[in-house]
């Protein structure tokens, strides 16, 4: 295993004449929680889209684990390689129960590979972590917004991913829910896992992130700790001091 989980190398994505990503390069290590911040349109979600295979870049590549180029792989193959992503808008399956979501996340394939008790254990464990044990038989469509956010984290967590991408995990949550989510994200940190969080809530970012990357117009504007980010004049100019 290499030390670098994700190496983004000269990535360019264009939508018409708009450059969503402009020769962006950055490295994310195993064991860290990396926050990616930036004003709207800075390319944060586009970056996650490229890493998870939804958007194909015009140029550049994304190396996973030092060896695998993700830019040619399908979404499913990328997910099976160990990269999972929570979407900005909570994406859950309205017609399935909470338990079914976790089971689908825990055990990839049209038939179960884990035996029944092992799958039960894993589902129970994940439900415990995201605090949805009491909701396990409810349909996802009936959950509150905050519960949907946690359910989606549970779905992506269930597979034990090596790279966990969270796109705005606390958008629309109450202060208390944000607090719980921050504790959850810190608890998910492991030496063999990289966690990438895209978020606008600066207090939340400060609580969870080891390092922060500030994007602006598809490029890295600044990289460092949250304290340094707050102190940087250029960052304050384009983002914090709006």
């Amino acid at each position: 295993m290499s030390l670098t989980a994700l190496l983004v190398d000269g990535l360019t994505v264009r939508f018409g004449s708009f450059r969503a990503l402009d020769e962006l390069s950055l490295a994310i290590d195993y064991g860290e929680v990396r926050a990616i911040i930036g004003p709207n349109g800075a390319g944060k979600t586009t970056l996650l889209d490229v890493i998870s295979g939804i958007t194909r870049p015009k140029q550049g590549r994304v190396l996973f684990d030092g060896a695998i180029d993700l830019t040619g792989l399908s979404e499913a193959a990328i997910a099976r390689a160990g990269l999972r992503r929570k979407f900005q808008k909570p994406s859950v399956f309205e017609g399935l129960s909470v338990r079914q979501h976790i089971a689908i996340g825990a055990d990839v394939g049209f038939r179960t590979r884990l035996d029944a008790p092992a799958l039960e254990d894993r589902v129970g464990e994940v439900l415990e972590i995201v605090g949805l044990v009491d909701q396990s038989h409810r349909l996802a469509g009936e959950l509150s917004h905050g519960q949907k956010q946690w359910l989606e984290i549970g779905m992506v967590l269930a597979s034990d991913p090596k790279v966990l991408m969270l796109d705005e995990p606390v958008a629309g949550l109450t202060d208390e829910e944000t607090e719980r989510t921050a504790a959850l994200v810190r608890a998910l940190k492991r030496p063999d896992r990289a966690i990438v969080v895209v978020e606008h809530d600066m207090d939340f970012v400060e609580r969870i992130a080891d390092r922060v990357t500030v994007l602006h117009e598809g490029r890295t504007l600044f990289e460092g700790s949250m304290d340094k980010v707050r102190a940087d004049a250029a960052v304050v100019e384009v983002y914090l001091g709006r």
Partner: protein
């Protein structure tokens, strides 16, 4: 008990399957006695059963996978034409009846591609292989390019229309605009007797019960949960490691095969097949049956098919000219008031938003 839901003896689907089997057994048991159903009624029940199978085939991909096909008449017609080829070849062998369309064309013998169709297993195998190939190829190309929603529905409609134009040609050796009729023998038995009519109806009911049970098993399984997940958010499922292309292709081909089976049951009972089965109207009507019964519910699809067709059978005597108005009225009701068909009535969901908002929400659901 399985992990994805209980199989309960009180579930409506179990009652429905039981009822269908009961009707089939009663019809078989009473055949030849004074209590036997009239030939007309027995035939109507058999045809309704075939339509119900057809409705299930569409519900499987539309209700459970979110893919609307407006061309399922194609697969229904495939089954119908291929069983008709068997019936004609077989009847010719036994009675020497030369099919009308060969006489019209002035042809002395069957074209070479009719070889082997007098042998039922060959005809059945040909139907399965051809249906799988056509649906598989069409599905692969469409799903591979991620064509879905309204676009997919329109392409399927075009496909069935093209097939209709092709089958209207008289020089293809498939009966042309007159279609195929004059089936006199089935498995060595004369057709049109009350025994044969009852037997076909009983077989259709039993196939319906079997298809219902099989599809229920499928949608309640882990695979069924993945079908619903694909319907609700396909991108989400892909980014969890699932190749939804394979899943969609499997269910699409399965659905086509069930529609083909319905056609094979239907044609011997009506005694004719012609290109009108490929008209866009029939394919649209299948979607109406499912919508009225309640898509995403197997019971709903069956009830929708039975109800709409029973009314149609009855009106075709009583007042054939008002049928299109009734059908259109039902469609308007389903779109504006009961988006989930009769299943809404069952749940008393009458207080949901109506009108343009409802419509907009439903159109949104149909997008890829």
């Amino acid at each position: 008990m399985n992990r994805f839901g209980l199989f309960s003896l009180t579930a409506p689907i179990v009652h429905l399957i039981g009822l269908i089997v009961l009707v089939a057994l009663a019809m078989a048991g009473l055949a030849g006695t004074e209590f036997a159903l009239s030939r007309y009624l027995a035939n109507a029940i058999g045809q309704l059963a075939a339509f119900a199978v057809l409705a299930i085939s569409l519900d499987l991909i539309w209700g459970y996978l979110g893919i609307l096909s407006l061309g399922h008449g194609l697969f229904f017609a495939l089954g119908g034409y291929l069983i008709a080829m068997y019936l004609l070849k077989h009847s010719f062998e036994i009675t020497g009846t030369v099919p009308d369309f060969l006489q019209f064309m002035g042809w002395k013998e069957f074209p070479f591609y009719w070889d082997g169709f007098e042998f039922f297993p060959y005809a059945l195998a040909a139907a399965v292989v051809i249906t799988t190939l056509i649906s598989g190829l069409f599905g692969y190309v469409s799903f591979r390019s991620r064509v879905g929603g309204v676009y997919f529905a329109i392409i399927t409609q075009a496909l069935v229309y093209v097939a209709m134009l092709l089958m209207f040609r008289n020089d293809t050796g498939f009966g042309g605009n007159n279609g195929m009729t004059g089936f006199t023998v089935l498995f060595g038995w004369p057709m049109g007797t009350s025994g044969m009519i009852t037997a076909l109806a009983v077989v259709s009911l039993l196939v319906l019960a079997g298809v219902l049970a099989g599809c229920n098993g499928l949608v309640k399984s882990r695979f069924g949960a993945l079908m619903l997940a694909t319907r609700d958010d396909e991108t989400r499922l892909r980014t969890m490691g699932y190749e939804t292309l394979r899943l969609k292709l499997i269910v699409w081909c399965l659905s086509a095969l069930i529609a083909m089976l319905a056609g094979m049951l239907y044609v011997p009972q009506v005694g004719i097949i012609n290109p009108r089965v490929l008209s866009p109207e029939l394919s649209l009507e299948i979607a109406v049956w499912v919508a009225i019964g309640g898509r995403g519910h197997l019971v709903g699809a069956v009830i929708g098919a039975l109800l709409v067709n029973a009314v149609k059978f009855w009106l075709s005597f009583a007042a054939p000219e008002i049928w299109p108005f009734i059908l259109s009225g039902l469609i308007v009701l389903v779109v504006l008031v009961f988006p989930n068909g009769l299943m809404d009535l069952a749940k008393f969901k009458l207080m949901r938003p109506m009108g343009p908002k409802r419509l907009a929400a439903d159109m949104g659901e149909a997008r890829p």
